[in-house]
């Protein structure tokens, strides 16, 4: 059976309150992955309330009008289910993995927290500390993450992609209960959610449960679109951080494209050509041949609005960041002049195809991809045309997207220079 044919088993339903449900039956193992994609991320935040979308990812586990703090996890685990959640600049995704016998309980728990979340002041204060601990772990004790936060905030001056998803420290300390309630009412409504189920289920059974548990939740207000468009950058921006540590870091970023841009497959193939694997171009040149970096990577976040494409590198202790920058800029200049070779493009296409097959070999991977295409690319069916879209990309299209992205005047350069720790 072809991949497109397996996708024919997918069924969708939109409830009267606007909630979209997508079901992909897969009976390989007696398990189910259910992902609720809430269409809110840090791009929907404003001054003073940065980090709120991520904070909700935490609060959604902290009790409802009917259930005390911790009960969500206790009930789900006692029925064989596990869960997690993540927040990005664009979306907040709640993930449950469970045996098929737990399906109704999961609907009950998920719909309850979408409709009846509790805001207990003491619980909020403790969770504030937990989130601050997460910020210390992920950002403040990590030089690459700290540099990335600064590059993102420098590359964007107007669009809310400048906001770090975990939030600025002063905002984490200062949100009010009113901010939380307002955010919940605005964004956590059925018409702002896409529910994806993959696994040992039948669509009719899922739709009946969806009607029963989500049907009674009223539609929320229409959400405000992000209106701000980042003005075109007209010259290089540069920032330097000096911080205790051992290895210099460089991150260069250019304004790029959005997830639904038709050039997205070409940019992903270019990313593969530049940094995916030991044969990739920038790895060969900067790590293996010229030994200017210990590690080099690159990528972009596929979102609703055009985000940045970053190349980031860890340098050896004492190595020169300007030598690295010069070599990287030279190679990118060569790229936009001469493009990529047919061999490089063919290799990248094989890598993308194999990675696609690995992605759709698990319930988790299917739920992730289905949600990404449904929410960020606008239609889940694009998942099934994606392999063909990648196959058709030409070397000329890769060159065109490289020329559109790697413009020196659209560049932000971040450098982290380590200084020896002060002894005690």
């Amino acid at each position: 059976m072809s991949f497109a044919a397996t996708g024919a088993a997918i069924q969708t339903r939109t409830l009267a309150n606007g909630m979209q449900i997508i079901v992909w039956p897969d009976h390989n193992i007696p398990s189910v992955a259910l992902f609720n994609w809430v269409h809110v991320g840090s791009r929907n935040e404003g001054t003073g309330t940065t980090g709120l979308a991520h904070f909700f990812e935490h609060m959604m586990f902290n009790g409802t009008a009917h259930r005390s703090q911790g009960e969500f996890d206790r009930l789900l685990e006692a029925s064989g289910g596990s869960n997690n959640a993540y927040t990005s600049q664009d979306v907040t995704v709640y993930q449950d993995w469970f045996p098929r016998s737990t399906l109704e309980l999961v609907f009950e728990l998920e719909s309850d927290r979408l409709a009846n979340l509790a805001f207990e002041p003491k619980v909020v204060e403790k969770e504030r500390e937990v989130v601050y601990s997460e910020r210390r772990l992920r950002v403040e004790d990590s030089n690459p993450a700290l540099l990335n936060e600064q590059v993102q905030a420098t590359a964007f001056i107007a669009h809310p992609y400048r906001i770090p998803t975990i939030g600025w420290p002063s905002d984490i300390k200062a949100w009010t209960l009113g901010d939380l309630q307002n955010f919940y009412r605005t964004w956590y409504a059925p018409n702002n959610c896409t529910l994806v189920l993959v696994g040992d289920v039948e669509p009719a059974q899922v739709f009946a449960l969806a009607e029963k548990y989500y049907g009674p939740i009223p539609r929320g207000p229409a959400t405000q679109p992000v209106r701000t468009v980042e003005p075109e950058q007209t010259g290089e921006r540069r920032l330097v951080i000096e911080r205790s540590g051992q290895n210099p870091l460089v991150q260069m970023a250019w304004h790029a494209i959005s997830a639904d841009d038709p050039r997205a497959p070409a940019l992903n193939l270019l990313q593969t050509i530049l940094t995916q694997g030991d044969a990739a171009r920038l790895h060969r040149l900067l790590v293996e041949e010229r030994k200017l970096a210990v590690e080099v990577g690159s990528g972009w976040s596929e979102g609703f609005d055009p985000n940045i494409y970053s190349v980031y590198a860890t340098l050896a202790e004492g190595a020169s960041t300007s030598d690295f920058e010069q070599a990287l800029n030279g190679e990118l200049a060569r790229l936009v002049d001469q493009g990529v070779t047919d061999t490089e493009l063919a290799r990248a296409k094989h890598q993308v195809a194999a990675s696609f097959w690995r992605g759709v070999s698990t319930l988790d991977g299917k739920a992730r991809l289905l949600g990404e295409y449904a929410v960020l690319h606008g239609d889940y069916r694009k998942l099934f045309t994606a392999p063909g879209a990648y196959e058709r990309v030409s070397a000329a299209e890769v060159l065109a997207v490289a020329r559109a992205v790697f413009k020196p005047e659209h560049r932000t350069v971040g450098v982290l220079l380590p200084r020896a720790a002060d002894g005690h």
Binding site: S79, E127, S244, Q246, R347, A354, T362, P418
Partner: protein, 470 residues
């Protein structure tokens, strides 16, 4: 008991749904049909044909690993494994990477404490190329001098970079160096900055030629292939692999420590303290494995576990608190890991010790045992979805000489585990809070006083090039 609690709490809508699978047949994950062949040179081959997606996965395990590193040269096995894929047969490092990536495959080699593993996945149409590349890597590595120097330098820099970006990832290296001092389990698998600097190319080639051999290897291939053809190809390609020069030495047993002592790893300016509380646990072949999994899940293996509830949910002291057993041919470590804001270090460690004390004293009630059992029953099938999962799982069984029922009857073993078995495991496998090796990575000037409450303190700088105070 548990089912009743859930039904009452979840309301009418859930009453029709049983909280846990009821039949023992249903709770077990069936091990897929597979064949086993041993080649005349001793190579053990396991074939698991599955045709649902057009991929073939492999997992080659070479017994030995970092436990055989020469004294003072920790990281030798890791460098040898790394170099297997950086030039082999007629291909230099670039040509090898190009051949793997050009067919959309992956092929990665890494050393572990007790073995070297070479794993990967290719499109089904490329299974012959896959076997040839794998055989080149394992039978004909070049250990090119330039590649050796580059990789060694890179691994040293990566250890430094980990200190700037993820100090918690090094807790185990510091902790094991002390807990297992003098035993191979105490050596950092990837080496230290100091030991890597000592290693020569001759150490690496000497290690590999002495330790690699067909009779030490198990190769599992799983996925979309025709067994007769793969069997023929493997015999042709791997048939000439020699046996290892010597028998594999047995590992000495490990011993628990008594009392408490603290290793303080000084990271000036760090905003929080990362901590590790450990003692020697149990080996891989520990017979009460279902009870052990239940007990550790309930104590520190999930979000609703005692540790995470006490430190994160109730106290707001951390983002994460957990515990795990590392189980090898002999007993590895049991460790509690968490982190907290610098000024809360004493409070968080106190709380972790108190939670461990509560487990040892009170044990687990029926609800906690039932919940952990159901969680494991519900999550277990998700670990066996893909051909790659089966290649890893069957290789692991072969390596530790475990029966298929280790996977296939795990569900019924969980169902059969009662409260007394769990109590016995808590008594036997979990350490007392009075007997722990403690590692704290944090700002010594601010936490030294708190650290001293937990035992005699030894301090080393995070920037030092090795993981022990010696």
């Amino acid at each position: 008991m548990v089912a009743v609690t859930i039904l009452a709490a979840a309301g009418d809508g859930v009453a029709a749904v049983p909280a846990a699978p009821v039949s023992v047949d249903h709770v077990n994950v069936p091990v897929p049909a597979h064949e086993r062949v041993t080649l005349p040179n001793g190579l053990r081959l396991i074939l698991v044909p599955r045709h649902d997606i057009p991929l073939v996965a492999f997992n080659l395990l070479l017994r030995g690993g970092a436990q055989l590193d020469p004294p003072g040269r920790d990281g030798t096995a890791a460098l040898a494994a790394d170099l297997l894929t950086h030039g082999a047969g007629k291909r230099d490092a670039y040509a090898f990477a190009d051949a793997v990536e050009g067919s959309g495959g992956n092929l990665d080699a890494a050393a572990r404490g007790e073995f070297i593993q070479v794993q990967g996945q290719f499109l089904a149409q490329d299974s012959r190329v896959m076997l040839e590349l794998l055989a080149d890597a394992v039978l004909h590595p070049r250990f090119d001098d330039g590649e050796f120097e580059k990789l060694r330098a890179r691994r040293i820099e990566e250890l430094k970079a980990a200190k700037d970006s993820a100090p918690q990832s090094l807790l185990g290296n510091y902790g094991r160096a002390r807990l297992f001092a003098g035993h191979p389990y105490g050596r950092p698998v990837g080496g230290s900055e100091q030991s890597l600097a000592q290693i020569t190319r001759a150490d690496v080639t000497g290690f590999y030629s002495a330790q690699a051999g067909a009779d030490r290897a198990t190769l599992v291939i799983a996925g979309d292939f025709e067994p007769a053809r793969i069997r023929r190809d493997v015999a042709a390609i791997f048939g000439g692999w020699q046996r290892a020069q010597n028998p594999l030495p047995a590992l000495a047993p490990t011993a628990r420590v008594s009392g408490r002592r603290v290793l303080l790893v000084d990271s000036p300016g760090s905003t929080q303290t990362y901590f590790w509380l450990a003692n020697v646990g149990v080996p891989r072949r520990f017979p009460q494995r279902a009870a052990l999994n239940i007990a550790n899940l309930a104590f520190g293996g999930s979000f609703a576990s005692m540790l995470n509830q006490d430190l994160r949910v109730k106290a707001g002291l951390t983002y994460d608190a957990s515990s795990r057993f590392t189980r090898g041919a002999v007993a590895g470590d049991f460790a509690i890991t968490s982190f907290t804001q610098t000024d809360n270090t004493g409070r968080a460690v106190d709380l972790a010790l108190a939670t461990l004390g509560r487990l040892k004293h009170d044990g687990l009630d029926a609800a906690a045992i039932g919940s952990a059992r159901n969680f494991l029953l519900g999550q277990y099938p998700l670990a066996f979805e893909t051909p790659f999962d089966w290649a890893v799982a069957l290789g692991d069984l072969d390596l530790y000489d475990l029966p298929e029922s280790y996977i296939g009857h795990f569900g019924s073993d969980l169902v059969a585990t009662d409260a007394s078995a769990v109590r016995a495991v808590i008594d036997e496998a979990f350490p007392s809070p009075d007997n722990l090796d403690i590692v704290l990575i944090g700002d010594a000037a601010r936490i030294r006083e708190a650290a001293a409450r937990f035992g005699p303190v030894t301090t080393i700088p995070l920037a030092a090039p090795n993981f022990s105070a010696r």
